[in-house]
Symmetry: C2
Subunit: 172 residues, 2 copies
C-alpha cells in the first residue's frame, strides 16, 4: 500500500492523482491519502479502476500517524521515499528480501521530521530534487524487478491495445 | 532532450515542474516547454540546477512542431510516451540500439493526433492511465539501463549525503 501524506486541496489535487494512477498502474494494492477527506479525488481514482479494471483501493482522511502505527503493529514495514535517504540500488535487495507487507510513504513538500525515524527504510531515488511521482514509479518498478510493466487487470471495461502509430481501444 | 507539450498556466505548473526535475535527476540534458513562455517555471528549474549542479537546460516558448521538425531534420529520433503505444519492455532494445539523439515527448492531457504519426516510437509505460511524470521516470531509467540513479553533478553548491534516518546536507 501507498501512504500519501501532506495532501492539500486544491494545491496537490493533480499531483496526488498522479501518485494514485502511478501506484495502480505499477502494481500497488492501493493508496491511503492521509488526514484530508478528498472525496472528489477518491471518486476520480475509483472511476479509473471501474473502467480499466482491477481492485485498486483508495481511502482518504485517516491521520497518517494512526495508519502508520496500525501498519507496524500488524507486522508491516515502512519505506519512506526521500531524496535524503539511502540510494535505491544500495538498499533494494534488503527491501525485496523482507517478506512483510510494505507501506510506501510519499510526501508532498514538507515531511514531518519524525517520519525519518519511523520508517524502516528511507530510500532515495537519486539524492536530487525529484518528483514524488517519479520516485514512486521508479521504486515500484525496481521493487517488482522490472516485471510489471504489462499489467492485465481483471474486469476491465476498456482495454488499450498497443499500437505502433495511433490509438486503439477495446471495450466490453 | 525532453519536449513537454500542452503546458498551461497555471493548471500544469506543478506537473511540468515535476517533469523537469525528473528529467534532470534521471539523466536528460534538458527540456523544451512548447508554445508557452513560462519564465517563472524556467527560473525555478534554473535555480535548482544552480544549487544542485550540472548543466541542465530548459527553454520555453517555441512551437512544438518547429522543435520537432528541427530535431528530425538534424537527424534525431523522436520517442512519444503514451499509454496507447508499444509496451516499453518490447521496444526498449530497439530504442537503445539506435545511436541518434532522442527527443522524448511527454504530453499533458490532450496530445494532437498527428504526434502518433510524427514519432519514430510511441512507447507505453503500461497501457494504463498513468502520470506523464512517472512514464518519463521509468522510461529514462530503462533507457539508461538502471545505471543512473546515483548521479553526481559538477558545480553543485548543495549535496545531499545519503543517510539512514535523517537529513544531511553538505554545502560548498
Amino acid at each position: 500500500m501507498i501512504l500519501r501524506i501532506g495532501h492539500r486541496i486544491p494545491r496537490d489535487e493533480r499531483v496526488t492523482t498522479h501518485v494514485c494512477l502511478t501506484a495502480r498502474a505499477l502494481g500497488a494494492d492501493g493508496v491511503f491519502i492521509s488526514n484530508v477527506h478528498d472525496s472528489q479525488l477518491v471518486k476520480t481514482i475509483n472511476d479509473v479502476t471501474q473502467r480499466f479494471g482491477g481492485g485498486f483501493h483508495v481511502e482518504a482522511g485517516e491521520p497518517w500517524r494512526s495508519t502508520l502505527s496500525k501498519w507496524k503493529r500488524e507486522g508491516g514495514k515502512v519505506v519512506h521515499l526521500t531524496a535524503y535517504g539511502i540510494s535505491l540500488p544500495k538498499i533494494i535487495d534488503e527491501i525485496r528480501g523482507s517478506r512483510e507487507d510494505k507501506l510506501v510513504v510519499v510526501g508532498a513538500e514538507k515531511v514531518p521530521g519524525e517520519m525519518y525515524g519511523l520508517a524502516n527504510w528511507n530510500v532515495a531515488v537519486t539524492n536530487q530534487p525529484i518528483s514524488e511521482v517519479s520516485a514512486l514509479a521508479v521504486f515500484l518498478d525496481w521493487l517488482f524487478e522490472h516485471a510489471r510493466l504489462e499489467p492485465q487487470f481483471p474486469n476491465a471495461k476498456i482495454r488499450i491495445i498497443p499500437t505502433e502509430h495511433g490509438k486503439t481501444v477495446a471495450t466490453d
